[in-house]
Subunit: 410 residues, 2 copies
Amino acid sequence: MKRKDALALDRVDPFAKKRKLFKLPKGKIYLDGNSLGVLPKASIVRVKHLVEVEWGQDLITSWNKHGWWNLPQVIGDKIAKLVGAPPNSVAVADTISVNLFKVLSAAVALRPQRSVVLSDSGNFPSDLYVAQGLSQFMDGKVELKIVEPKQIINAISDEVAVVMLTETDYRSAYRHDMQAITAKAHCVGALIIWDLAHSAGAVPIDLMACDADFAVGCTYKYLNGGPGAQAFLFVNPRLQPSAVPALVGWWGHVKPFAFSTDFEPADGVRRFQSGTQGMINMVALDAAMDAWKGVSMERLYSKAVKQCAMFTELVEQQCGEFGVTLYGNRDFHQRGSHVCLQHEQAYAVIQALISRGVVGDFRTPNLMRFGFTPLYTSYVDVFDAAQHLYEVLSKRLWNRKKFSNKQSVT
Amino acid sequence: MKRKDALALDRVDPFAKKRKLFKLPKGKIYLDGNSLGVLPKASIVRVKHLVEVEWGQDLITSWNKHGWWNLPQVIGDKIAKLVGAPPNSVAVADTISVNLFKVLSAAVALRPQRSVVLSDSGNFPSDLYVAQGLSQFMDGKVELKIVEPKQIINAISDEVAVVMLTETDYRSAYRHDMQAITAKAHCVGALIIWDLAHSAGAVPIDLMACDADFAVGCTYKYLNGGPGAQAFLFVNPRLQPSAVPALVGWWGHVKPFAFSTDFEPADGVRRFQSGTQGMINMVALDAAMDAWKGVSMERLYSKAVKQCAMFTELVEQQCGEFGVTLYGNRDFHQRGSHVCLQHEQAYAVIQALISRGVVGDFRTPNLMRFGFTPLYTSYVDVFDAAQHLYEVLSKRLWNRKKFSNKQSVT
């Protein structure tokens, strides 16, 4: 493949016009939208209005006047469309860890006779920590059991209360078979929680088609909601009347403004709200959701698959001799929207790339991760990134003091 | 008192210059800073920089480059100074309800043989809901017991695991005696959690002087952090090695970037962090904290006491005959920074006041609440607000269809 071939692909790319909705960082090829999505132009305007008019001028009246109060449900319904969830089943609130705690506590309470929370070693560590924290608090009444990703389906036994998995692995990009695993869980009477952190806005997801029980997900990666924007959670309508989280609060009360001293859960997913949500991040996210109008997740994913395959192929052709190898699944139709490469000097290589304006990230111990976000990643970005990697590796540009090892941040 | 007397007080007010740090709403007398504080000018600049430069341009590198990662601790240390807490004992994160859940779960785990969480009927309902949610999840192993505020001290028995109180009542403005109640709790071996939602930035608080175990608090009221800005929590250094919340996550791991599958809590208050925090609200709050430089809480509180007394006196002199009475404690040295009035048409009266630009709020069933935030509330604001209330009541301006009853929002 030549650079002109990449440019030709961009010219016929149906998503090319979406790229104009974002303020892309100047002089950079940004391949870290799987960690922090770029800034939508609409969010700049919306945040300014929130700060200067809604907060600055209208103040407390904005809770009604500017719809702050309902925003978690309004945005939830927008996200629902991207993950195959019906209206009133998705709420935006808090962080993934907090939401996971809420749905996990609700799920284990629905299976009081069972003692196992099952997950896999590819899950994002924070999800495992949430289960361990809950387990310790419950004096081991439930225990977290961790198996290898591909052993999950066979490990689902009738001791399992809850299966808790991340659909797309944050390193290997391996995608679980949601349909088969959910069916197996239900077959033995277990519940399932899907973490869609690396899936929502990246791959086609249909929560209702597989009849998932609960889900959580991130809005600051592929959904471009801004740094640390609130996470989302999904509760299957079938479970909404019976599921109650251990962590509740007045936003989840059936009549919050009655200020009753007794908690009575609201109907629907709203009972999974607890405290007052940060509105500046919330409106940035709401504006970011505009970019998803008219987007077919199937078509977007097929662009991602093409970009992941193209990047991997270019890297393997050009850089194989320099000790770089693909990490994870090679099947480009069973993986997420990022590519992870192994190299013994991964941290220094990533730092050298960043210094040239190609932004990916490092994951311990020896992984370089490159996210493809086809709403705004062009084919020529992919081509050029591979060329930069070739330059860095072939000229050993990573071998400089300034690229020495230190911590990085998701 | 005449209007010119109020103006004279403003001329010698040592806090008058602080008012210039805020964008006050045009044409309004804003007496709801106890619900949502006004917009600091510094926050406008800081949010714009966050959005356009840190998010828009520097993206993922901002976690290190712009100090996002450490901001919860940096702001925590600033808040610590206002509430008598040492460095590294306060963290900014999540919401009050989530933080209360964290510290309450840690506290009950430290008192496994005890079965009572004690609170009072004046506590903010969401706090009670948090305890009820935890109690239900624990199958009643701990039970919430609610008594009248003034009966708290006598209700602290050796069955009590945790005393959980809001220092300043959100309606009556009654302030608990932190020193005496904390001492009594410790005397019987119970732990204590103080909610400082209506105290931090309003009244002098000294967490270490009374040796409080845990505290939580709000940043979007008196601290002006912006709508729904993250809450804070305090853990006494004495308990930091032993207290572990039920809700944990990767931000509370001793080595978050090791991505280990086993949770190992960080030292200090950081273990009470869980997930990634929203940075737009966080920087707005950080900038808002600038206004507190050089502020003596004792002197600020004495201005608040003066304003509360002045407002109450003016209202009682002028409006007593129209059925309005003070709700709560009359002792202006044992109360918070707001005044609550009772009137049978409270909702309509508040609406009529808001339509004239005097913003207070309604609390069910018949309460009107007026917050005095002496960083930016002037004495003439207080005088004029009382005059508007007189106008509304004496001319029965509230008696109009457009002021009919409906829900309001904190």
